[in-house]
């Protein structure tokens, strides 16, 4: 099982870029990396996934180095509504079913 490690919490201010890094040292060759966001009293919401290098969508960017032992979720110009818990999940049998504690991002005005 690929174990993931993320910071427990991060603080930021509106308008700043936030980068959340996840370590996944023993990720399997065929695994993708996926990130989810969860607001209080809501289900996790898929944000982005990638395999290697950089992926960008309307919400975020995901950077994955060549060794794939980590990934960084980048949120450009955060707003108060980005305050949430962010989870990194390698997609593979069993691993994709296991949520860690995630990173609690608090955005201040």
């Amino acid at each position: 099982l690929a174990k993931t490690t993320q910071p427990i919490s991060m603080d930021s201010y509106e308008g700043q870029e936030v980068n959340i890094t996840c370590s996944h040292n023993n990720i399997a060759t065929n695994d993708y990396i996926t990130w989810y966001q969860q607001f209080p009293s809501q289900g996790p919401r898929f944000i982005i996934q990638g395999y290697k290098t950089k992926v960008t969508n309307e919400v975020a960017s995901l950077f994955i180095p060549a060794d794939r032992k980590s990934s960084t979720l980048s949120l450009p110009r955060v707003s108060l509504s980005d305050t949430a818990v962010y989870y990194c999940l390698p997609l593979s049998a069993n691993d994709k079913l296991i949520f860690g504690t995630g990173t609690r991002l608090q955005v201040f005005p």
């Binding site: 996926t34 809501q42 289900g43 049998a93 069993n94 079913l97 949520f99």
Partner: protein, 117 residues
């Protein structure tokens, strides 16, 4: 955008009673899941379901729990005799792809808050 819907949003029940939590997955999805989240804790996997049978279940999913897809659209979680420690948010999720080994994201509903008194 299609979404997973869950009903009810909040269910209060007495210890020992049976509850059924309902979910309507996204219509062309093939794989279905139940998770739960006790207040302040991690999202925990309960069970996955494909082709009208359970694919995998966790240690939490004991004999008190069962799942069913009774009519091709709904996906239900039944707890036969609720305990105080069953109080949690229960999330249903669905997926288009081939389950665990294909890289398709899970789509979650907004959950049912179950309170056992």
């Amino acid at each position: 955008e299609p979404e997973v819907t869950q009903t009810p949003s909040h269910q209060v029940t007495q210890m020992g009673q049976e509850v059924i939590l309902r979910c309507v997955p996204i219509s062309n999805h093939l794989y279905f899941y139940w998770y739960r989240q006790i207040l302040g804790q991690k999202v925990e996997f309960l069970v996955s379901f494909y082709n009208n049978e359970i694919s995998e279940k966790s240690e939490i999913f004991d004999d008190q729990f069962s799942v069913e897809r009774p009519d091709g659209s709904n996906f239900t979680l039944k707890i036969r005799s609720t305990k105080l420690e069953d109080s949690a948010m229960y999330f249903c999720a669905s997926e288009w792809g081939e389950g665990f080994t294909v890289n398709s994201p899970l789509h979650f509903g907004n959950g049912t808050r179950l309170t056992v008194t």
